[in-house]
């Protein structure tokens, strides 16, 4: 078991390394480099860049210096305003983390409950309602939902305030972010619950005289959670990318909206650092989910 964990961790680190390399070399493939001399950069910024990024050294060496600095916590400097990227990330990430965690928890927990409920009341009213709404919401991209929610609830009805640091209202952003994953989880949970209920071991449990509810909550549920946990990894990735637009739409100052404005402003150093940061986040999340999954399903061999 320990060997397995170590192996997975090494793989995760390797993945982040590869991603960093790809990001770095891609950014530098842009003609004129990421440090576009056409832009009117202030002298202070130019000096800072030269110092920080060792622009006179060969590219590969630049890369390793970059990695070394990254590991020390030095993310470089924003092209836009010369600020320390590390600081920008440090300020904006906690906001995004709050939003993200809430959305993930919402989606996974509520999704599993609703999905199981749908499976248990198959073809009756609760099932139909749940499936109707979850099918609907798998067709609505997060940015569409976000803008619509903003329109209806903040602007037209004015029930909820627009987000600002003084009035941090997370209700709408969480809904916009969690809607799709929750809908997907619901349908997944329903299918896997129905699947589990169809298995032979359920018949065995019935034949032993186990009560109906116990069959569902003990025998079926554990098995039905396995696919849901498998999906948790991609779900987190979705929420990270979704947060970019949701934060932009609701003008929340999280790391996602920072990333989007960096793209719009061609702030390449910012793009580079944020990409690596978010990628590392996703890899870690996947790693945790992987380990969780192996813990729940004893059939998986630890190779």
């Amino acid at each position: 078991m320990a060997r397995y964990i170590i192996k997975r961790v090494i793989l995760a680190v390797l993945t982040v390394f590869i991603i960093s390399a790809i990001t770095f070399f891609l950014m530098h493939a842009i003609p004129g480099g990421p440090f576009n001399k056409e832009k009117a950069l202030s002298q202070a910024t130019i000096d800072a860049l030269n110092q920080r990024y060792n622009l006179d050294k060969p590219l590969v060496e630049q890369f390793f210096i970059y990695i070394r600095e990254l590991l020390k916590g030095d993310f470089g400097v924003s092209l836009k305003n010369g600020r320390e990227i590390g600081q920008i990330i440090g300020e904006s990430f906690p906001i995004s983390a709050r939003l993200g965690f809430t959305a993930v928890a919402f989606a996974l927990v509520l999704g599993t409950i609703l999905g199981s409920l749908a499976a248990l009341t198959r073809n009756k009213l609760p099932d139909r309602i749940i499936i109707f709404f979850s099918t609907l919401f798998t067709a609505v991209p997060s940015f569409v939902l976000a803008t619509l929610l903003l329109l209806v609830f903040c602007i037209q009805l004015q029930w909820l305030p627009v987000w600002s640091t003084q009035t941090p209202n997370y209700v709408l952003p969480v809904i916009a972010l969690a809607a799709y994953p929750m809908a997907y989880t619901t349908r997944l949970a329903k299918t896997s619950m129905l699947d589990a209920l169809d298995q032979d071991y359920i018949r065995t449990a019935r034949a032993k005289g186990v009560a109906h509810w116990k069959i569902i909550f003990k025998h079926a549920l554990r098995n039905s959670l396995i696919p849901v946990i498998t999906y948790a990894g991609p779900e987190i990735a979705y929420i990270i990318t979704g947060s970019m637009v949701v934060e932009t739409v609701f003008t929340i100052g999280g790391i996602g909206s920072q990333f989007v404005s960096a793209i719009t402003n061609r702030d390449y150093t910012m793009i580079m650092a944020t990409t690596i940061f978010l990628a590392a986040l996703m890899v870690v999340a996947n790693l945790i989910c992987d380990l969780l999954y192996k813990a729940v399903d004893p059939r998986i061999k630890y190779d």
């Binding site: 298995q199 032979d200 071991y201 018949r203 065995t204 449990a205 019935r206 034949a207 032993k208 005289g209 186990v210 009560a211 109906h212 025998h219 554990r222 098995n223 729940v296 399903d297 004893p298 059939r299």
Partner: protein, 336 residues
């Protein structure tokens, strides 16, 4: 009821399933009795309704299945009229079942010990305080080595034969009156098959339960059973002791079956398979279910389900050929 005739009495059982394509009549009028300590064998092809009969007794049919007619009497009580709560105390305690595929029949995410102890905790008054000891005792009884270790293992870690033994241990932990075995050896190697059958007979001697053995394997049936029922199309073709069925088959289907398997009797001869394909249960015919495939089919077979007549005290068959032969004998007796 204290005084009862038979341990289990199935009377004119009819079970049907509603499917996308219509109603499938899986069991069409089955009746049999089972007494304490005896072994009943139910033999038939896939789709003959034998497993469904067993599931109907325990009422563990799938959602779209229902008993549409008939009674099942256990120790005199009509359990078809029982509530779900009453049935739950029947299942696993008075009557247990082991299934064909032990790999899929055991829950993969729980340990062997957990699954055995679940039944003990549910039903047993005797072993309530020490379910683990009872579980260990059962594992030893079914011949599993290193029982303490096995208790903590998961089903995928055991071999096929061992899993089936675990199923048996699980089924017998609460000392049921009846054990139903639904194709218990079909998924196992031949050598393991023999071991499992031997184990079952051994346990029967020790614990005294009655066994219903459902199988398509005539060899298994011959080994173990006091009485045999041959099923086709959800109906009973013939019933009797092993000797009677094998040496004096009186139903065309049984005769066809025996002709089609290798045995001492037809060693040098060609095997003759039964022509045609198994019956489509969506449209049960008016007459005998086997008629379309029967070489001796007569006009009456098309129109009427044959009555069951006694060949002798241990042997009954439902085939018009017998009645024709009897009538011909009567005629001859009259004319001579």
């Amino acid at each position: 009821m204290e005084n009862y005739e038979h341990l289990l009495s199935v009377q004119n059982l009819h079970t049907a399933f509603s499917t996308d394509n219509g109603t499938v009549q899986a069991v069409n009028g089955i009746s049999f009795n089972l007494d304490k300590g005896k072994t009943l064998g139910i033999v038939g092809e896939s789709g003959s309704g034998k497993s469904v009969t067993a599931y109907s007794v325990m009422q563990i049919l799938s959602e779209n299945g229902k008993i549409t007619e008939g009674n099942v009497l256990f120790k005199g009580d009509n359990i078809t009229k029982w509530s779900e709560k009453q049935m739950r105390s029947f299942r696993g305690k008075s009557c247990s079942i082991i299934f064909q595929d032990p790999m899929t029949s055991l829950n993969p995410v729980f340990t062997v010990g957990n699954q055995i102890m679940e039944g003990i905790r549910l039903h047993s008054t005797q072993y309530q305080s020490s379910p683990k000891e009872r579980a260990l005792e059962m594992l030893k009884l079914v011949g599993i080595n290193e029982p303490e270790k096995r208790l903590k293992q998961y089903p995928y870690e055991l071999s096929g034969g061992m899993r089936q033994r675990v199923m048996i241990a699980m089924a017998l932990a609460c000392e049921p009156d009846i054990l139903i075995a639904d194709e218990p050896t079909t998924a196992l190697d031949v050598t393991i098959q023999a071991q499992i059958l031997e184990l079952m007979q051994d346990l029967q001697k020790r614990m005294g339960m009655a066994i219903i053995m459902v199988t398509h394997d005539l060899g298994v049936i011959a080994e173990m059973c006091d009485e045999i029922i041959v099923m086709y199309g959800g109906r009973i073709c013939e019933r009797g002791t092993a000797d009677e069925i094998f040496y004096n088959p009186r139903h065309e289907y049984t005769k066809g079956l025996l002709r089609s398997i290798p045995s001492g009797a037809n060693m040098k001869q060609r095997l003759i398979p039964i022509s045609g394909t198994p019956i489509n249960m969506l449209n049960m015919p008016k007459g005998c279910a086997f008629c379309p495939r029967c070489d001796s089919a007569m006009k009456i077979c098309l129109e009427q389900i044959p009555d069951e007549i006694s060949i002798n005290e241990n042997h009954k068959a439902s085939c018009w050929v017998n009645i024709r032969d009897e009538q011909m004998k009567e005629k001859e007796a009259v004319t001579t």
